[in-house]
Subunit: 201 residues, 2 copies
């Protein structure tokens, strides 16, 4: 399965996915990385790992829809069958979702539906939660709302800061995202309503 | 520490708390159980365990505030210092909260802030979560919103029903509620904003 990865930042989850494709844990090939930010560190990391990496400029498009049409064209041109968002900060449009229906996946650093949106780690700390985690989910138009594929938990310690918690979460994110994309690439999930099941048990 | 327990139903969490007081895991005494429903099975169970148990009728009071004033009087009369809600379905009023400020605790069958309110287990199943849990929290006026003292997680299995999930959750609820009330009774929690810390680490 050919995988495209969308990024906006350093792309540590992207890096985990590319490594897992290259060493066979994911039965797929990372064929292209696209960033909506020119300065994203992920672009250089992807190139170093031998993956084509492109910056596409939202400002050179008239609208979010026009940008997403270009994005879809670039992904389709590369033969992408599964799109993984990895710290991609731009909201996607309906046209993008329709083009890859059921084949766009994201990882979010909270136990959704708690703490959607930005700064999920800080939100969980400020709420006073004792546990948080990460969620791999299919992407729908509403942010951080699609059917959940997998979740993993991370305890919040009394002396945690946003940084210490985010670092522990990232370890779980990399592990969980690789596992979920591996299952997706092998067509192991089925959906009943919002409930995703695997044939693993 | 003298503990009062409010119930509306069968009171399995109440039973866990009474047992833990009686065998010394909680350094406290369950002195009274009060139900707002005459038919609550918890009343008979409490009496069998040697704890005074009373039905107080909301319908014989003019308002929720009047009922809560009677409730406060009954609890104060019994010398209650800590109030534990155990499946108590009535929303409490500000007068009640003021009378036991910081000393009212509840257990909720979800990882708050996800799934407040009724049927939390079913909500988590229908959302398609892969993990849920239970939360012991201090009670504030807004339902299921006070500072969190402890949380425990429970995985959601592919073939879970509301019943199978609720049963697994109950086991964790009993364990967690006893542990949290034990720490509360020994004054081991401190609050910084919404973050509760213990001196255990």
């Amino acid at each position: 399965m050919k995988i495209g990865i969308l990024v906006s930042g350093r792309g540590s989850n992207m890096e985990a996915l590319i490594h897992a494709c290259q060493d066979g844990r994911i039965d797929g090939q990372a064929v292209v990385v696209i960033s909506d930010r020119a300065e994203a560190g992920a672009l250089e990391i992807a190139r170093q790992l031998g993956v084509e990496a492109r910056f596409m400029d939202p400002k050179s498009h008239d609208s979010r829809e026009a940008f997403d049409r270009s994005l879809v064209d670039a992904l389709k041109e590369a033969g992408v069958e599964l799109v993984c968002l990895a710290g991609y900060m731009k909201l996607v449009t309906q046209a993008f979702i329709d083009a890859f229906a059921g084949r766009i996946v994201n990882i979010h650093p909270s136990l959704l539906p708690s703490f959607p949106g930005l700064c999920a780690q800080q939100q969980a700390l400020e709420y006073g939660c004792k546990v948080t985690g990460c969620t791999v989910h299919l992407v729908e138009l509403a942010m951080d709302s699609g059917p959940i594929l997998m979740q993993a938990t991370v305890p919040i310690l009394d002396d945690d800061t946003e940084q210490s918690l985010s670092e522990r979460l990232l370890v779980e994110e990399h592990r969980l995202y690789v596992e979920a994309v591996s299952l997706l690439a092998s067509h192991r999930f089925t959906l009943e309503g919002r409930r995703a099941r695997t044939d693993l048990r």
